[in-house]
Symmetry: C2
Subunit: 215 residues, 2 copies
DNA sequence: GTCTATACAGAGATAGAC
DNA sequence: GTCTATCTCTGTATAGAC
């Protein structure tokens, strides 16, 4: 009997987990699409296809739900980082990460961070799981930034955490939606320009005096 | 009697206009501080010191009120542009405008445009006064951008309207609040870095001819 | 035009049956 | 754990006296 009960129990757990995943995924999408204030719990429940009351069995409230969604997003970043090829130079890693976050944004997916003035900022400050994950990826990225600075690819005049913020901020850059709403450019073009203007802005200044051994 | 009635009438008009200005100013501040969704009409009325119902005598609704606030902001930009010294080179004008918008943002004032996903975007699309003013300053700034490109100060590879968006987007850049919340840097430093990374990103690429085997 | 008081709608959250 | 039905609060908007 145990041989039957065990899988049964595991199955229920899996269902439970899968449903929570579905809820978080829907919340994540709506959060990215409409923002924290405009998103409603009813919409999330409807998107998943469950009743709102059922959702509240999984999450204590809207804040909790959205915090879980943000954790979910950061964990995706963690996986992306972990999936990077081993030998890649730091600058290429940064470039790939930037491209990926902008692509997320252009495909209406969840941005890594919130647009400014989000009411979610407060609750998120007290979510330890989020803070821990964010801290983890920040440390990782800061390491790459240091390497890129030593390699002369990023201006050493900029503090590493400023570079970090500048990169992450591109994932919620109003520039992307502005250009998109204009309707005259393709997503690929927008992506290129966004990356180009961002990276050029962080790059070490050009060798103005034809610096001898530079670059 | 006319000599008395005329001033009396004008006085009332002035009062009316002044009150509307006060309402718009308060709305503008709260809109910049909390965003469209989080801001409430009650707060605006309380800030001005009038009853909510009185406010509704001046503006048809929240959308109207916020649209008026946005028009107010764009008109400030118009005045700033008009106040620029005559002989200033185009690039200096762009730099001054960028600095000004970032300073607005750092002093918790109203950004020129909304953070992405604002519910105000829809109503604003149908506000002719806003669109007209925005169009006017856009044309002006686009002129400067063209000059700066011809002068080799901004990359000619970037379409002028992309440059325009990139500049305006800095007024709602999450980078600013991120660095600010970090608490380790002064507003002056943040301003410098924000301008530097933005302008470097738009600048024409370094004279590669000077470096024969460059990159 | 300004006020007080109120209607109305939407959304977060909960009760209780199954 | 999931559902339907409901509570409650907040926020937009309005009615009606002055």
């Amino acid at each position: 009997m145990n041989s039957l009960q065990q899988p049964r129990h595991s199955f229920k757990q899996q269902m439970h987990h899968a449903r929570e995943e579905a809820i978080v995924a829907a919340a994540s999408r709506l959060l990215g699409e409409k923002g924290f204030e405009a998103m409603t719990v009813d919409e999330v429940a409807a998107a998943v296809g469950i009743a709102k009351a059922s959702l509240y069995k999984h999450f204590a409230g809207k804040d909790d739900l959205c915090a879980a969604a943000m954790v979910h997003v950061v964990e995706r970043v963690q996986r992306f980082i972990a999936a990077q090829p081993a030998g890649l130079p730091a600058m290429e890693r940064l470039r790939a990460l930037l491209r990926w976050t902008i692509e997320m944004q252009l495909s209406d997916d969840m941005p890594i961070l919130l647009s400014r003035n989000s009411g979610l900022a407060g609750p998120l400050k007290e979510c330890e799981a989020y803070q821990a994950s964010l801290q983890q990826i920040s440390a990782q990225i800061l390491g790459w930034i240091g390497e890129a600075q030593q390699a002369g690819q990023i201006s050493p005049a900029l503090p590493p955490d400023v570079v970090l913020c500048a990169l992450l901020a591109r994932s919620a850059d109003p520039l992307l939606t502005m250009l998109r709403d204009r309707g005259t450019y393709s997503d690929a073009q927008i992506l290129d320009w966004a990356m180009e203007t961002c990276l050029n802005g962080l790059a070490a200044r050009a060798p103005q005096a034809a610096a001898p051994g530079a670059a």
